[in-house]
């Protein structure tokens, strides 16, 4: 038998002459890296635990609601679902989404600054503004998993339970879809930009998460105290600083529900559109300040 003989070719360095995607490719890569980073992909298993635990907390109740509703419909076909609808579900997962944003926003921005990776971005066809918008886009994309996936599961699940045929019921309930998407956008815009702003000006991830949760949760308690202290002049305007409540108020507006008096902005006598304006203003100012920060450091 003759021995097989191989030849080793030293190809050396091979020039690349294929397509180049330029700025569009760089932005797409930054969005994709951001999504992977906050979900813990391409990293050790421990980085995946918290994001997927929170995602499960956001999605599994929807699966359970549809399942229990299915069981209930077998015993009492005409009974109303005891779990509420789409609007109530946004309230249910609000804290989970807030916690996720508190963890994800620092993860998106701080390591790149801390480990000098910004100098790599600066040498590629990517502007500082592109970087900020790409990271914001990555956060919105992952947030949509939290805010939209369970809602769509409920939309399809409840349609399957109640309708004559699934397709007919999906069409009959199609009016829910714009409300779901709009409300999800409101929550994402209310929660994400302030978190990015804090992360852009903070050196440590844990500090950024802590400050964000303090502003959103503890700050609300302070606001409630000021609003109720009627001796202070203009006290009711303090309610506008209750950032965590604005999306709930706008959600009620979108779903045509009368606002509950539990909401401080409602107690202070503001109309829901004021909350919508506040969300847009805070988001806009936050993102502009983040862009300003990165124009200086990239």
């Amino acid at each position: 038998m003759t021995a097989r003989r191989g030849v080793v070719y030293d190809l050396g360095y091979v020039r690349y002459d294929g397509p180049r995607l330029g700025r569009r490719g760089a932005v797409t890569a930054t969005v994709r890296d951001g999504m992977f980073r906050i979900l813990g992909f391409h990293r050790k298993a421990r980085y995946k635990i918290l994001p997927f635990f929170l995602l499960a907390l956001a999605v599994l109740p929807a699966v359970a609601f549809v399942g229990f509703s299915f069981l209930l419909s077998n015993f009492a076909p005409d009974a109303e679902s005891p779990f509420g609808g789409h609007a109530e579900y946004f309230s249910l997962i609000g804290t989970t989404v807030l916690l996720f944003v508190a963890l994800a926003a620092p993860e998106l921005l701080i390591p790149d600054r801390r480990h000098g990776v910004l100098s790599v971005y600066s040498s590629r066809p990517l502007l500082p503004d592109d970087y900020v918008w790409a990271r914001f886009g990555a956060l919105l994309a992952v947030l949509s998993l939290f805010l939209l996936v369970p809602q769509f599961l409920m939309y399809i699940g409840f349609s399957a339970l109640t309708g004559e045929t699934l397709m007919a019921e999906l069409i009959a309930r199609a009016g829910e879809l714009p409300k779901i998407v709009l409300t999800a956008a409101v929550y994402a815009l209310a929660y994400a930009p302030p978190a990015l702003l804090i992360a852009a000006y903070t050196k440590r991830k844990a500090v950024a998460s802590g400050v964000y949760l303090a502003v959103m949760l503890v700050g609300m308690g302070l606001v409630a105290g000021v609003v109720q202290a009627t001796v202070l002049p203009g006290h009711r305007f303090a309610a506008l600083a209750a950032l965590i409540e604005h999306p709930n108020y706008v959600r009620d507006w979108i779903y045509g529900r009368s606002a509950t008096q539990e909401l401080i902005v409602s107690q202070a006598g503001f109309a829901p559109w004021v909350s919508a304006v506040m969300i847009a203003a805070v988001a806009g100012i936050s993102l502009l300040l983040v862009v300003r920060r990165y124009r200086r450091s990239m």
């Binding site: 020039r15 391409h42 790599v120 971005y121």
Partner: protein, 302 residues
């Protein structure tokens, strides 16, 4: 000179009251170019302006004929950059980071993966590609930084102090890699304060000091002033007298003479003078002027 790869006109930059670059006029050809100067000479500032990362206070800078302010994205699509400081995320593997760096350079996903693998092999990290970068040694980190600078196959790569912090072995490997880049068709601008590194890797040198250009030209033209070094057994004076009479310049240090001759071959002059005087020698040989000599001489004459 061919069309310059880099050209600056009246380029100045100041950080507040600190002037980092002052009226820099340069025409740098394609090839391997060394940017030498002490810390704070303005090397990194010049590179950052050429990358479009800094807006100069005054003047213009062009790379491949493109103004770096007006066409920063076009310039960046054609260049690579290895920063002096850290630029590696410690929790990512070398392979993942290189794929990302290639994609940031505009390469499609499949090409980015292929290029990342090829370039990691090129810099000798193929065995380490699935290890997190945080566990890399300084030498491995420097090679990864070089790999990210060339993974998208740029036409020109800026290397800022590529041998900083490396042990002798790592430094040799890095200099070898830099020397090879030219043969790959990649132009290189290497910034360093180690003159020996520039002498070994570059064929054009730009000397910066205090934000000003001291010299800019081919390495050969800067270091080609040949000197003959002779170590004598006998009294040097008769030999010196003959050499000076023949038009040579002689520098004496004990029994050692350094002989240079403008427009003449100093070897021939020394040979003839030795024959005339019958002076005995211990040794005789060339002593090329190093880049360090040039740097010190130019700096001293200012």
């Amino acid at each position: 000179m061919d069309r310059p790869a880099i050209e600056t006109r009246g380029l100045s930059h100041a950080y507040g009251s600190v002037v980092a670059l002052h009226d820099v006029d340069l025409q740098i050809p394609p090839g391997r170019v060394g940017l030498v100067g002490a810390n704070g000479a303005g090397k990194t500032t010049l590179i950052r302006i050429l990358l479009g990362m800094l807006t100069p206070t005054r003047g213009t800078a062009e790379v491949f004929g493109l103004d770096t302010r007006a066409y920063e994205l076009e310039v960046r699509a054609r260049v690579g950059y290895m920063p002096e400081g850290n630029c590696l995320p410690p929790d990512q593997t070398a392979a993942d980071f290189l794929i990302y760096a290639a994609a940031l350079g505009g390469l499609p996903s499949r090409a980015a993966r292929q290029r990342a693998s090829d370039v990691l092999t090129l810099v000798g990290l193929e065995e380490e590609r699935f290890r997190p970068l945080g566990g890399f040694s300084t030498g491995m980190k420097q090679r990864t930084k070089l790999a990210q600078a060339i993974v998208h196959d740029p036409e020109l790569v800026f290397l800022d102090e590529p041998t900083a912090g490396l042990d002798p072995e790592g430094r040799e490997e890095m200099l070898e890699l830099i020397s090879r880049l030219g043969s790959f068709g990649i132009d290189v601008l290497v910034s360093s304060h180690v003159l020996g590194d520039i002498e070994r890797t570059c064929d054009w040198v730009v000397m910066l000091e205090g934000g000003r250009v001291l010299r800019s030209g081919p390495l050969a033209s800067l270091v080609d002033v040949d000197t003959v070094e002779v170590d004598l057994i006998d009294d040097p004076e008769p030999l010196i007298a003959v050499l000076v009479a023949a038009g040579a310049a002689v520098e004496r240090s004990g029994t050692r003479l350094l002989v240079t001759a403008d427009g003449k071959d100093p070897f021939l002059l020394v040979r003839d003078a030795l024959a005339d005087t019958g002076t005995g020698i211990r040794s005789m040989g060339p002593r090329s002027t190093s880049l360090e000599d040039v740097f010190l001489a130019v700096e001293g004459s200012r």
